[in-house]
Symmetry: C2
Subunit: 347 residues, 2 copies
């Protein structure tokens, strides 16, 4: 592995078929650019001006119920509409198609001051149960063939409200990122009769270079092909095509994995760690999706401190993703924090 720690090289992401440029020698360059605001605010448990807090009124005049744990509603500014007109434009190089969908917001807790990192494992489990039921009910709707669960956390990730919440956008066709993973997992499964991530986990659990945390059912690791400085992935040890296949008694272990990862993220730079997270899973298209192995990824932008982030700009937009610290270094740092967390206090 020496060459991958010293010299510029590229790594292959077998899930997407894309490469990432790694420049380990560059980690020490000085930073004189934009710094983010450190997120040091403390928030009240209920904010009368927050449109996600229980009992408050939203932009469209609707009043939130006095919810006690998780609350889901249809996004008042949905990017996808269920009633989009059917059409297909195919005029030479000008090509467009209708895309129908349903967008929902999911409040993780009535407590305005919390984030997943501050919630206890049992409360995170309630979020997971809601993801499962939303995935099931949205997936059953006519013309919904894919359900994307995600969270934008922190102002730097475009989150406009600090109340703990995520989103679910469901739609008729597979978005780009999901298509890529669908194709690559299918090819792999046909050739190997195992899911790609099943075999990848086997390798990683043997190498132990990028594992951050594991419990009986889940592995948290920094993938070999990670793009973001402290990117990580939560993968179930058993191949499951979607979160519905996660046995009821293991949802608490998924909650634990989320809890550990978000807690150590907050410890890393002593800040409420911003990220976008998302669950990639099988389409809800009634096809045989046994090649799918669902996983949850975290893409956090911070690079060296609470205020200095990695910019994915010029070269990254026109060429390919580029990173400085290696996934191995990031994994060691995160693993160390996870070990301390467990010594310090039991969940």
């Amino acid at each position: 592995m020496e060459n991958t720690q010293e010299y510029s090289h590229k790594r292959f992401n077998p899930l997407t078929g894309e490469w990432v440029l790694v420049s380990p020698h560059r980690a020490k360059r000085p930073w004189q650019g934009q710094e983010e605001d450190a997120n040091q605010e403390t928030r009240p448990t209920h904010d009368p001006d927050c449109y996600l807090c229980s009992g408050n009124t939203r932009a469209n005049g609707e009043k939130n119920p006095d919810y006690e744990d998780v609350f889901v509603f249809v996004n008042d500014f949905s990017a996808l509409q269920k009633n989009s007109k059917q059409f297909s434009l195919n005029d030479g190089l000008i090509k467009a198609e209708v895309e129908q969908g349903i967008c929902k917001v999911i409040c993780f807790s009535p407590d305005h001051s919390k984030s997943l990192a501050d919630m206890n494992v049992k409360d995170i489990q309630k979020v997971i149960h809601t993801w499962q039921s939303e995935f099931t009910s949205l997936g059953k709707q006519s013309n919904i063939n894919y359900v994307q669960i995600f969270e934008n956390k922190g102002a730097v990730m475009g989150c406009s409200n600090p109340h703990p919440h995520g989103q679910i956008w469901s739609q008729s066709t597979l978005p780009n990122e999901v298509s890529k993973k669908d194709i690559h997992q299918k090819t792999y499964y046909k050739q190997n009769n195992n899911t790609l991530l099943q075999d990848y986990l086997k390798q990683e659990l043997k190498l132990k270079e990028r594992i951050v945390f594991e419990n009986r059912a889940f592995v948290v690791l920094v993938p070999f092909w990670a793009i973001w400085p402290y990117e990580a992935m939560i993968v179930p040890k058993q191949p499951q095509k979607d979160i519905i296949e996660l046995p009821r008694e293991e949802t608490i272990l998924f909650a634990e994995a989320i809890s550990v990862l978000t807690k150590i993220y907050d410890k890393l730079f002593n800040t409420s760690f911003p990220y976008s997270s998302g669950i990639h899973q099988a389409p809800t298209n009634n096809e045989n999706n046994e090649h799918w192995h669902w996983h949850m990824s975290f893409y956090p932008p911070l690079l060296r401190s609470a205020t200095v982030k990695k910019f994915m700009v010029g070269y990254e937009m026109f060429g390919m993703a580029q990173r400085d610290i290696t996934p191995e270094t990031a994994a060691q740092t995160l693993k160390h924090l996870a070990d301390n967390l467990y010594t310090a206090k039991h969940f």
Copy 2:
């Protein structure tokens, strides 16, 4: 086109084979999230602390010459190294390869206070001539098969120094974005015997819905599949595989196109408009690249004002790019500004 102005739909990018989700109805949602600093600073023409100004000393102790127009040097913190050790790792799902390269910085002007938008067309032409000579000389080096010219402008685009400058990263293999465009242009060329952009320009020049500006040799337009709110593309009317094929007498027209676009960008929100720009062109791999039609793209993040940008986060990272205002609306706004610019003053 009615359906594409009212309802959520997706549009196809024939250059990359990817889709973008368009949600025209969503343009009016209120924004309560992070706002950027408006860039209202005025800068001196020479800043003694700027490592790009002429005569100043850089981080590595080297002194910049007293340059008079354009100045190029090897990046002191190059992400790619020419001496990266040869290796290839292919262990199951863990796959990496050496990537060698040369990274350069190109100062557009000795005047610290300027940007391309403030420079006159003749001075921009000098930048273009330098791009051409760098492209030629880097492309000839052993093991350099692709040359990426780009600029990150503005703190919000990760630019750490406001001195007008861009970068050139050259490397042994084709980065992801370029590979995609290589494949799709090749397939198109084989089937149609015209370059993809040649036929696309024909369509756009007839429709006139997304054209912002044109001169004898260039078209500036908002592509039908644009991702960023005010994304635009400068395309030569004649198919040329790279900027070397641009006839000497037309470099001034390329300079004019850059000048018009950057000037109207600055007018749009009355701010020094941030963006990443880049030139996609044929690889320097000595293959027959007649399917390539080079073009320069601008990806500006601002959405509604000098302080509110579009965030490409959760859904965009896990699903696909998503935009609110349509490319047609953006093009009309930009065209209007371009028309006014020409009435106001001749270049």
